[in-house]
Amino acid sequence: MEAIDIDRSKHELPTQTKYRLKEEFGLTEDIVRRISASKNEPKWMLDLRLAAFKAFAEKPMPNWEKQPDLSKLDFNKITYYQAADAKQSRSWDEVPNEIKDTFEKLGIPEAERKALAGVGAQFDSEVVYHNLKKEIAEKGVIFEDLDVALKEHPDLVKKYFSKCININDHKFISLHYAVWSGGTFIYVPKGVKVDIPLQAYFRMNTESAGQFEHTLIVVEEGGEINYIEGCSAPRYETSSLHAGGVEIFVHKGGKARYNSVENWSKNTFNLNTKRAIVEENGMVAWIGGQLGSQATMLYPCSILKGEGARADHISIAFATEGQDQDTGAKIYHLAPNTTSTVKSKSISQRGGRTNYRGHLFIKKGATGSKTSVECDALMFDDISKTDTMPYMEIKEQDVEVAHEARVGKISDENIFYLMSRGLSEEEAVEMIVNGFMEPVTKELPLEYAVELNKLITLEIEGSLG
């Protein structure tokens, strides 16, 4: 599978004058109705939003053992609604210096920087995007903004929307369903294998670079898709909450790969929900990197519904000063001969904290199921913290369940050895950390992996922030 080679230098855009938009804070039923009205949504979607809003208002905040501190999250200080035709009001001057420095060090081109910082207007990748669209459209693949897809393919969207993650599942997904806006819809017809990875990056514009985007991916029987969301350069949002939703439906024999590297700015609460339902002999792979944000609570979930279904979770989390990355995997084996693997790597430094929180459930009758969970944590100094909190419920005897975790620091002997071969201490640490992350980065498309490695190296060197 070849990724499209994007010539980023082609997209230099002139700066545009901005004007201040009056921002509305807080969430009321009225705002939910206005969101729906401004998008001209069908009644069922409005009803869904209102039911979700009610659930959000009634549900308490989570109160889990050792969960990240959510006390600074003030629902009334967040903007949930921006008029569809309003332009981004943020000016480049408002963007924090640390974000600008990161762009500089990663070599991100000018126009892209603005889009990432929410400053640029339409990020015009029309040329590349349209050619790609034409090629896959010929096969019947739909790759569209979810807002647009709701209008152009209403029956298809209605069939699947919110059927993977229920609107009542938890407080933040209820909020998400009430105010969702933007996001991606991908539909892969029966037997179609999409060779090139599809990237949300192509459509990065101010509307969809939002904090409540919903991604809906449907892979019909025998179809295959590889999707890439986000990028490792930091995303700057003044609104400090990201409560997105990703729903993936994999039908019989289908394959879906979801790659996502999230690096929200350090004022953000990242409370995303990702879930896949996998039918007979289907496969889902979640490949993710969690950097940035002050607190993350993210547990990609795979429901192995059909016999022979499979899920692979591969992730890396990085926490530095002031960050609490609480991530993990939820896997439900509901049918016989299902398989799951989890490879979770985390790094904490300068007082940051990472946590692996997993739930593994094997239903009675899911005979022949196999699962293997491996979570490893690297700590750089004695003020950083890491925890591992897996929960396993095994209700079937004819299974093979294995779980292991390792925690430690970079071995002094290893560093000494590399230095004795001529590397500086920084280079030695960099090499060892890259080796530690290799199982994850080798699954990412190349330019992503390079960017991720570079970013983590910069974080470790202390060159950032």
């Binding site: 925890d387 419920e393 005897q397 299974v399 093979e400 779980h403 975790a405 925690v407 620091k409």
Partner: protein
């Protein structure tokens, strides 16, 4: 003086985002028929009776509802004060025929090595047994808890390990009914270490809620937890292992292993091995597995002439013995109390 139980917190149990695991909340302490005096046979040392206020040296009485209830309903306590090197193992045999709330307080003076075997048998609604160990500097204690109780057993074990000392716990749970068992060691002294080696055997409607905890609070401390269970019938086991490395515990290590063999369709295990690490200069890991008897191994043994029943029994015993073997030279002393029980259970797994 009586503690107000409602003001205390429930004892630590696995608390997942989806809900809590365990049966403690369902226990009824209102209609107890308590013993007037505990019956404990002691061999190998002279013990003294102690009051409830002399107990709770390691466990705080207001730690949680279980310690609070144990304090309020206290029926008797024994102090095992090991001041000189004992010649052989110290054996305490508890017989429980009525509801009991007993404490065994063990103090080991510096430089002494002791092996203590605590057995509990009997039949009652509730038996709450607390064992507290204070291992002073450079003392080494091996404590084996062999449980064959019918009813609900609430076993609470905790140790404080001072500098250079070691506390090795061994537990065999062959109870019929419900077991709530917690074992914890607080390594407060540098260079102290602890091991907890437990076997649980469940069948019928047994409900086992087991938790092991290692608190590495000082430098150069070492924790090793190993738990293996065999479940058949409709037995349910919950396991929580907590390895906590404190901020000051540099150069410490902590390992945890939990394995469960499920021999029947209705047996169930829930496991939660946890790591809380607050210092980076450490080595920690854990591993957990669950599954059934390896079919290839069964086939191999049958091809050598064993019946399927004998083959399974052999594999069940082979699964469990490594836990006993972790006691090293002390396995020979503890073995005779443990082996017959395991053999009997293994033979019964075809019922």
């Amino acid at each position: 003086m009586s503690l107000v139980i409602e003001k205390l917190v429930p004892p630590r149990h696995v608390s997942t985002p989806m809900g809590k695991w365990g049966f403690f909340k369902q226990l009824d302490f209102s209609s107890l028929e308590k013993e007037t005096r505990p019956t404990v046979e002691v061999e190998g040392i002279t013990t003294t009776d102690i009051t409830k206020d002399a107990c709770f040296q390691v466990l705080e009485k207001e730690l949680d509802q279980l310690t609070g209830i144990h304090y309020n309903e206290f029926t008797g306590g024994l102090h095992v004060h090991v001041q000189q090197q004992p010649e052989g193992p110290i054996v305490l045999r508890h017989t429980v025929e009525k509801d009991a709330f007993r404490t065994t307080l063990i103090t080991i003076e510096p430089g002494i090595t002791a092996t203590i075997i605590e057995l509990v048998e009997g039949n009652a609604k509730i038996c709450s047994l607390a064992t507290e160990i204070v291992a002073k500097e450079n003392s080494h204690v091996v404590h084996a808890h062999v449980q064959q109780f019918h009813g609900t057993l609430l076993a609470r074990k905790a140790a404080k390990a001072l500098r250079d000392s070691s506390v090795t716990w061994f537990e065999l749970n062959a109870n019929r009914g419900n077991t709530f068992s917690r074992v914890a060691t607080f390594m407060e002294g540098e260079n102290s270490e602890t091991g907890s080696y437990s076997i649980y055997l469940g069948k019928g409607n047994d409900f086992i809620d087991f938790g092991a905890q290692g608190e590495n609070l000082a430098m150069h401390t070492n924790t090793n937890l190993m738990t293996r269970g065999v479940l058949t019938g409709k037995a349910l086991a919950i396991y929580e292992g907590v390895l906590h490395i404190g901020e000051k515990a540099a150069e410490s290590t902590a390992f945890q292993e939990e394995d469960c063999l499920l021999l029947s369709k209705n047996a169930e295990v829930k496991a939660s091995p946890m790591l809380y690490i607050d210092n980076n200069n450490v080595k920690c890991s854990h591993a957990a597995t669950a599954g059934h008897v390896d079919k290839e191994k069964l086939f191999y043994l049958m091809s050598r002439g064993l019946s399927p029943e004998s083959a399974q029994q052999l594999l069940v015993k082979g699964f469990v013995w490594p836990v006993l073997e972790r006691l090293g030279e002390h396995a020979a002393v503890v073995g005779p109390y443990v082996e017959p029980i395991v053999e009997a259970f293994a033979e019964g797994t075809h019922e």
